[in-house]
């Protein structure tokens, strides 16, 4: 492999070891999720300057997905569906970055390498990488298509084989 894994344009040092470094600003901008709480302050915020995190994301979330908001496999990607590395990825000593597939973004590679360490749910990937869930779904869909990962569908409680699992959950909670 001659490709240099550092050749990828990293926006921030946000590899799997970087934890939850905030890539984007908090969701407190006018019009954001907590807009309702901010009504009273809106007038002054309109005139105020926004700096750093307060100015919001430098990269719009769906830029990473090249504008796509739906993954072909989205029906399968429940929040607690597990993303599992395929043997191809597990067998590669350096992980996804070392494979140096230039069709994949750093965010794709971060997801692939997290899945390579152990199966991660869609929600965990989004929380760990500080990406919106919808973006993670699209990126995981790409990784499935590229053969890096597969996704296991969570078992709905109604389809659990027997009540034994729930007793184990109860025992496990008591033992915490």
């Amino acid at each position: 492999m001659t490709e240099d894994p550092t050749a990828f344009p990293r926006q921030t040092p946000s590899g799997p070891t970087a934890g939850t470094t905030g890539r984007w600003g908090p969701a407190t901008r006018p019009g954001g999720a907590r807009a309702g709480e901010h009504t009273a302050r809106r007038a002054e915020e309109h005139t105020a300057q926004w700096y750093d995190d307060a100015a919001g994301p430098v990269v719009r979330p769906y830029t990473m997905t090249r504008g796509r908001t739906k993954a072909p496999a989205e029906e399968r990607l429940d929040l607690i569906a597990l993303v599992i590395a395929e043997d191809f990825l597990l067998a590669h000593p350096g992980g996804a970055y070392a494979i140096a597939d230039r069709t994949l973004s750093p965010e794709h590679l971060d997801i692939a390498d997290l899945a390579r360490r152990e199966p991660h749910s869609i929600a965990e990937l989004a929380a760990t990488l500080d990406l919106p869930v919808g973006v993670v779904r699209v990126l995981v869909g790409d990784l499935i298509d590229a053969g890096y990962v597969r996704v296991s569908r969570p078992v709905p409680p109604a389809e659990l084989p027997d009540a034994g699992i729930l007793r184990e959950v109860i025992d496990g909670l008591r033992a915490l």
Partner: protein, 202 residues
């Protein structure tokens, strides 16, 4: 790195069984505290399309082109065993994000409805939601300092809960107390028979 366990090396493992519980209740009732008492808590963001429902509250003047809004939820993971993982999702408090609940509720093992006796009405919507969908829930009264104490039966009457719905007093800050609440939800799900679940009849 919190979720990863690099010391276990890279190898293909059987994927664990994943289950989820929801934590619902009014704004400021202690959902975040409750999730944080038993698990490492993290914010989870979803980008949602702004709908007509959001118009009255989402002032879009100046950002009329903005089509999506970010909704943050509390999210926690409890590893019960290597092959058994329970996820907790704190539902977004604002009524206009009800549509998000449908995705969260799908396949949920059960739910906690957290209530504050000073503002009991704040949990009506969540109680209705889970009753209608036949999702097992426990009504947990977060006993805030200084809040008037009511008996579980008084709360049950006030909320007109079915007799089989567990009502427990809790302190969302106390790990053991929250563990008891979660155990109660799963026991209730077990007792009511999760296979009896009906689809929504809204």
């Amino acid at each position: 790195m919190v979720f990863g366990r690099p010391d276990r090396g890279i190898r293909n493992r059987t994927a664990p069984l994943t289950l989820k519980l929801l934590v619902a209740g009014g704004f400021g009732v202690g959902k975040t505290t409750l999730v944080g008492s038993v698990s490492e808590i993290r914010p989870l963001r979803t980008e949602e399309l702004l709908t007509e429902a959001g118009r009255p509250v989402d002032d879009l003047s100046g950002v009329e082109a903005k089509r999506t809004t970010t909704v943050a939820m509390d999210f926690g993971r409890i590893t019960l065993r290597e092959d058994l993982v329970l996820y907790l999702f704190g539902t977004p408090g604002q009524d206009r994000f009800w549509f998000l609940w449908d995705e969260l509720a799908q396949g949920a093992l059960g739910a906690v409805v957290l209530a504050d006796t000073r503002r009991l009405a704040d949990c009506f919507a969540a109680v209705d939601y889970f009753e209608r969908r036949g999702i097992a829930f426990t009504l947990a009264v977060n006993c805030f300092d200084g809040a008037p104490r009511h008996s579980a039966e008084a709360v049950r009457d006030a909320l007109d809960l079915d007799p089989e719905v567990p009502v427990v007093m809790c302190d969302a800050r106390e790990r053991d107390s929250v563990k008891r609440v979660l155990v109660s939800v799963v026991e209730h799900a077990l007792a009511t028979g999760i296979t009896a679940r009906r689809p929504a009849t809204v």
